[in-house]
């Protein structure tokens, strides 16, 4: 057999499929249902998969199409009012100068689905811009602008705008920095 069986390859890709599903649904149970539906669809469509092409992009495409078509079917019962999630953010970034993961997650959840998927595909799953564009059925430029907007929104939500960036540094470091500045001034 010259090509690996896509059925076997699919199993190896399950962890990243689950992670991608989780970034879209943000609910473990919904993510697992989504992966399950994706596996079933993929399995019955393997004859349409062109051996030697990008299986990962193919599977991710099935997963996101399933997610978006489910989403369209559902009446949006709960539109989260802007204030609800924002209120869960802590006031300031973590004192050690790193983004607190919990806060990051809250901020991430506030992005649009399209921004989340673009960021996860390129920023975390190692997709190229081209692969991400293929997966999302859009232009490379669209992916790039979703990523840029997503990053800007995250920075804003995490109080990481460049003006406030100094807040990331703890008071002790700040003191050293400003002392250094005074010395060189």
């Amino acid at each position: 057999m010259s090509h690996p069986d896509p059925r076997e390859e699919l199993i190896a890709l399950l962890p990243s499929l689950r992670a991608f599903a989780m970034s879209l649904t943000r609910q473990p149970a919904a993510a697992d249902d989504l992966v399950q539906d994706t596996v079933l669809k993929a399995w019955s469509n393997f004859d349409k998969f062109q051996t030697g092409t990008n299986l990962r992009a193919w599977l991710f495409t099935i997963l996101r199409n399933t997610y978006y078509s489910d989403r369209r079917k559902k009446v949006r019962e709960v539109e989260d009012g802007d204030g609800v999630l924002t209120a869960q953010l802590s006031e300031k970034p973590a004192h050690d100068g790193r983004l607190a993961l919990r806060d990051f997650r809250v901020a991430f959840d506030q992005l649009t689905d399209e921004q989340r998927e673009a960021l996860i595909l390129v920023g975390a799953s190692g997709f190229s811009y081209e692969e991400a564009a293929e997966t999302c059925g859009c232009a490379v430029g669209t992916i790039k602008s979703r990523i840029n907007r997503g990053r800007a929104r995250l920075a804003e939500l995490m109080h990481l705008s460049e003006n406030e960036a100094m807040e990331m540094t703890d008071p002790a470091t700040m003191a050293v920095i400003s002392a250094g500045r005074t010395a060189t001034a």
Binding site: D32, V39, F108, R151, L160
Partner: protein
Amino acid sequence: MASPTPDKDAVQKQIDENLRKIFEETANEPIPDQLTQLLDKLREQETRK
């Protein structure tokens, strides 16, 4: 270490780092039984064809 003068690049780096963390958190979890069982069933059907 955060750079002493965090700029756009540093912010971006922290964002990407966190993106990878949330991705890997799920990706490193064991595959749930429900899913392994489904695959076993599918593979079994395949061999019977």
